[in-house]
């Protein structure tokens, strides 16, 4: 059950909430930029290293931040009673699910564009492929963060608990993504774990864009894998939205 009208109104409502929160918007736009600048000065004389890490960070930021924002936002809906109330209205689960996905996906697109623009123009980021694809991967990662955030919010009763899912969900994926140690140099069992983590594919896709002027088959496959995990996570998220509760 879905309604285009309700989905559009729900997306708009979530964006309005975000818009009233000026400080969150400022943090969303400034923090990634600030972190990239630190990286820039850390690797001032090693452009290739900066290029590699900064590119991956462009994918990791939206994933991490949207995971956090969604898990807190949806936890609030669950604990404040608004979710229960929404479930007595004609709103369908998918309206809410996709509402969050689209609203935070749009916010991530703005965030990724601002960060990428700064990285390319001010920090001399250099990629063989186009910035458009970098932003595409960044937004897909953001939606992955939204979907996982929605799912994990079901396992938190308080905001204290919710924020602690961030290191559990995000850090291992980043550690094993090949950013620090190339995946084929890892112990076999670590590589096997990294094979089933979606961020691994997002990072590989970004590396493909960094190294190739045209999108490669590997990049498309990786994007497809991430997209598949998004759909899976949204389905798991939908399963945690229960109209009837004890």
């Amino acid at each position: 059950m879905m309604s285009v009208r309700i989905l559009a109104n729900t997306t708009q409502r979530i964006l309005r909430q975000l818009r009233h929160d000026h400080r969150t918007i400022a943090l969303m736009l400034v923090v990634p930029t600030l972190l990239l600048s630190i990286l820039y000065f850390m690797y001032e004389d090693q452009a290739p290293v900066f290029n590699r890490i900064a590119l991956i960070m462009l994918g990791v930021f939206p994933f991490t931040i949207m995971f956090l924002l969604t898990s807190i936002a949806v936890l609030r809906e669950r604990t404040s009673g608004t979710l229960e109330r929404l479930f007595t209205t004609p709103l369908g689960k998918l309206d809410l699910l996709f509402g969050y996905g689209i609203a935070f996906g749009l916010a991530a697109a703005v965030q990724a564009s601002v960060t990428a623009a700064l990285a390319y123009w001010l920090l001399d980021l250099n990629t063989a492929g186009s910035a458009g694809f970098v932003i595409l991967i960044a937004v897909t990662n953001a939606v992955l963060g939204v979907a996982l955030g929605l799912f994990f919010s079901a396992f938190a009763r308080t905001e204290f608990q919710a924020v602690q899912f961030m290191p559990i969900v995000v850090l291992p994926q980043v550690l094993l993504s090949g950013l620090f140690v190339a995946r084929d140099e890892m112990a076999g069992w670590l590589e096997a774990i990294s094979n089933v983590l979606p961020v691994t594919y997002a990072v590989e896709a970004l590396a493909e864009i960094g190294a190739n002027p045209e999108p490669t088959a590997t990049m498309w496959r990786d994007l497809g894998v991430v997209f598949g995990v998004v759909v899976l996570a949204l389905m798991l998220g939908a399963a945690t939205l229960r109209r009837r509760t004890p």
């Binding site: 309700i6 109104n9 909430q17 009233h20 608004t82 229960e84 479930f87 009837r244 509760t245 004890p246």
Partner: protein, 238 residues
């Protein structure tokens, strides 16, 4: 007239506790039914079962002839939760317009409802900056806004000043006169006199289901507070 809400042998457990013990009753359209009883009696649980968000152990609830929680029913029900459930980071108007839009209504209907609950001066204010009474009226506006046929209001007048409370009851009366089914819970007995019909609940059981005069007569007192006490004692003595 056909009852709008029926529940029979309804048993609900929350945690390991049975909070409703096989309760049955009918609630009719066109009148205000008061769900009265102390805190913890099971009023909210019963209301949640009626709007279809409560898992029930056994028994059934039907609303307008359909099982509670049916998708078709969601267009026709307005539910006010006990603690205000609106978005604190939106304005009053944005909240009410959002809930209006879920029922397919536009900004006009939302703005009218805001006036009806006396919040026209706060319409552009963020909900997080409202007083307690204004906050719960925002929540009430979101329940009233879809022109629902069945209204389930969990303690709608708590914390309102007497003048506004009177105004809100007039509004519930108008809605009932227009044919809506209005179920209002309260733990304040003086509000019971404003209802056409009372369900007195205690410890998960319905101890009276009648009009206010009949409840008073059965208990042999003119005071509803006293009547409630006597009915409880009478049951305990059985």
């Amino acid at each position: 007239m056909e009852p709008a809400i029926q529940f029979h042998d309804l048993v609900v457990e929350r945690g390991k506790q049975e909070v409703l013990h096989s309760v049955s009753a009918e609630i009719h359209p066109g009148v205000i039914t008061g769900l009265l009883g102390p805190s913890g009696a099971g009023k909210t649980t019963l209301m949640r079962a009626i709007v279809g968000v409560q898992l029930v152990k056994s028994g059934g609830v039907t609303v307008l002839g359909k099982p509670a929680g049916s998708p078709e029913l969601r267009r026709t029900m307005g539910y006010l939760t006990q603690s205000p459930s609106v978005y604190p980071d939106l304005t009053v108007r944005e909240n009410v317009r959002y809930f209006a839009s879920l029922y397919g209504f536009g900004a006009d209907e939302a703005d009218r409802t805001i006036v009806n609950v006396g919040l026209e001066d706060q319409a552009r204010q963020l909900v997080s900056t409202l007083s307690g009474g204004q906050l719960s009226r925002t929540s009430l506006a979101c329940a009233l806004v879809g022109q629902p046929e069945v209204l389930v209001l969990d303690e709608p007048t708590v914390g309102q000043d007497p003048l506004l409370r009177d105004e809100l009851w007039r509004r519930f009366r108008k809605l009932a006169d227009d044919g809506a089914t209005v179920l209002v819970s309260s733990h304040v007995m003086d509000e019971a006199n404003r209802c056409d019909r009372l369900l007195l609940v205690r410890d998960g059981s319905i101890i009276a289901d009648d009009t206010p005069p009949a409840v008073k007569q059965a208990a042999g007192t003119d005071d509803l507070d006293q009547a409630f006490l006597r009915l409880v004692r009478r049951r305990a003595g059985q």
